[in-house]
């Protein structure tokens, strides 16, 4: 990669190449967890926001950012973890959504504005309008709201019979 532009612009370009360790189809920028890159004195401060309170990848991600920025000669670098405003899947880029689908993970829809609604008691098939990332069928059903990582849920496609993961809106 050829770097050009200001130091912060170069850092943003570098962050496009740092992958999420648990969903390596996405870069940290695709995921929308890089909130800011700013110069603070001699250091470059990268502001990250966690996806989930208990995401075990948080420390690995911070270290990957430090390693990548340093390797690009843009250091020294500091990391600021910023909790508010809380990360939402709405911050995943369009490019990121395309990459997720190609990777076999159904991307999240928009976060339900009515998320304050008490509880939806609906059947498992009725709840699912998620397109299968393999065959695009809408005949899918949710097996579990929780998957191999906190950010994903488990589905299966009734048409092509394949199981798949869905990046759940939050």
């Amino acid at each position: 990669m050829t770097l050009a532009g200001s130091r912060t612009q170069q850092a943003w370009d570098v962050l496009s190449t740092v992958l999420d360790p648990e969903v390596p189809a996405l870069s940290l920028r695709d995921l929308g967890i890089v909130r800011d890159v700013r110069e603070q004195g001699a250091a470059l401060d990268v502001v990250l926001t966690p996806t989930y309170s208990g995401c075990p990848a948080t420390e690995v991600i911070s270290q990957s950012v430090v390693d990548a920025i340093t390797a690009a000669g843009l250091g020294p670098v500091t990391i600021t973890m910023q909790r508010a405003p809380a990360w939402t899947t709405d911050w995943i880029s369009d490019d990121g959504r395309r990459k997720l689908r190609a990777y076999g993970i159904a991307p999240p829809g928009p976060v339900d504005a009515g998320a304050g609604v008490p509880i939806r008691l609906v059947g498992r098939r009725a709840a699912a309008a998620i397109a299968c990332p393999r065959c695009n069928s809408l005949q899918t059903e949710r097996l579990s709201a929780f998957g191999s990582t906190a950010c994903k849920s488990l589905y299966r496609c009734v048409s092509c019979r394949e199981p798949f993961e869905h990046f759940k809106p939050i």
Partner: protein, 257 residues
């Protein structure tokens, strides 16, 4: 063996510990399901929720340590307190029981936490508000998961309905403690730190009541029994869960991965 840390219990600290310890102890109870879930998907779901809860507990205990004034960190607070200094309601320390018991307790706690987080998003403590803004999204998924299962089991086979009714009978007498008013809650309400837990009682009853009705389950009459975990007076189960949680830090002081 590492000595216990001693805390100065201000109302503010106790308010934060009640939230943090609720997440910490329920997270530990759910973690006990790892490798024991009735099906693989539920094994994964319960441990995912445990992870969320422990993440929330980490943030809350870190905040509690900052306000206490002697710079205790999240690990010291999680692993080096004496039993009396844990301020979770008794409900979350009860042994995990069967799956019906686990999902019903999850419904009760997730509904409580969701309603509290919603109000805590406007806390006068900016860090607590930020923690709440994240946690409320997670609590919604926990509540939905529990509600689905409570209905499925309550309205399921004779065996699942029998177990569900039995779980409800065991759990219901620990509910009044959740909403008991005291000086800690009054101080939090007065300072804008957060709501009295009693402030969410009506919404809690409406939401939990709707799920129980859909499940065909009837809560027993309220008894005069009051549990006292939020005041630091716990059941005999608390010592055992703390022994399991603390053994490593007590035996190997400051041990890290």
């Amino acid at each position: 063996m590492t000595a216990s840390i001693q805390l100065t219990h201000t109302p503010q600290l106790q308010y934060l510990l009640r939230l943090g310890d609720t997440c910490l102890i329920l997270g530990q109870r759910l973690g006990e399901w790892c490798g024991h879930g009735p099906v693989l998907e539920e094994d994964i779901a319960l441990t995912n929720m445990a992870l969320d809860l422990i993440g929330q507990a980490r943030a809350l205990l870190t905040r509690a340590g900052q306000t206490e004034g002697r710079a205790f960190d999240e690990d010291q607070l999680a692993f080096l307190r004496d039993e009396r200094d844990y301020r979770n309601p008794t409900l979350v320390e009860l042994p995990r029981g069967d799956f019906a018991f686990t999902v019903q307790r999850n419904l009760m706690v997730a509904t409580l936490l969701k309603l509290l987080w919603q109000k805590l998003e406007t806390s006068s403590d900016a860090e607590l508000a930020a923690i709440a803004g994240k946690a409320v999204k997670e609590a919604r998924y926990h509540q939905q998961h529990a509600a689905d299962w409570v209905v499925r089991l309550g309205d399921g086979t004779d065996e699942s309905a029998r177990r569900s009714q039995s779980a409800l009978a065991q759990l219901w007498r620990y509910v009044p403690e959740l909403f008991e008013a005291d000086a800690v809650d009054e101080a939090a309400a007065a300072s804008g730190l957060g709501p009295r837990w009693a402030d969410v009682q009506a919404d809690w009853q409406a939401e939990v009541g709707a799920v129980l009705a859909e499940a065909g389950l009837t809560p027993p009459a309220v008894s005069s029994f009051r549990s006292t975990g939020k005041r630091g007076v716990h059941t005999e189960h608390m010592g055992f869960i703390l022994a399991e949680m603390q053994q490593l830090q007590r035996a190997y002081p400051g041990g890290v991965w």
